[in-house]
Homo-oligomer: 96 residues x 2
């Protein structure tokens, strides 16, 4: 869920399914489809169908989605900034 | 994990195991013990043993723990503030 939101959040513009999929290595089509549908249902993602041939479907964060993404991004950044401190704490604990 | 951090974060001072447990209805002793141990290992929680009789054991957030708790608290508050918007989006989606 958060990887999908981060993908859409980082891109900051509508993305096609294939673009989202490429940005989440190893995600199955079934899982990504379920995740996007769930995020759409929760009001986090807007799905726009453009009636051209072939039909074009785009996904983007809604305002509500962007407000949650802002927090997810802070947690992601916290994890990057503090990974060494956590590793150090684990190494110290494991020596006890 | 986040419930335990929120319990310690909200209290803002060392807590005994029984106090933490009382604040997380339904948590098993095994789960809480594992969670506290894991948080201690990750450097989020400090476990202090006071050699009195009976021995006193207290748990509190470390600075690292408090910095993560600050983000968790924001996500918790976001969820409270936006629960109605998510419910509304779900109701609208389910009518499609």
């Amino acid at each position: 869920m958060s990887l999908t939101m981060c993908t859409l959040g980082i891109h900051g513009a509508p993305m096609r399914y294939s673009e989202v999929s490429r940005n989440i290595p190893g995600v199955s089509q079934k899982m990504l489809t379920q995740t996007l549908r769930s995020l759409e249902r929760d009001g986090m993602v807007r799905r726009t169908v453009t009636p051209v041939s072939p039909v074009r479907v785009d996904y983007e964060l809604t305002d509500l989605g962007r407000s949650l993404y802002a927090l997810i991004a802070q947690v992601r950044d916290w994890a990057h900034e503090n990974a060494d401190a956590v590793d150090h704490a684990r190494a110290t604990y494991d020596k006890l």
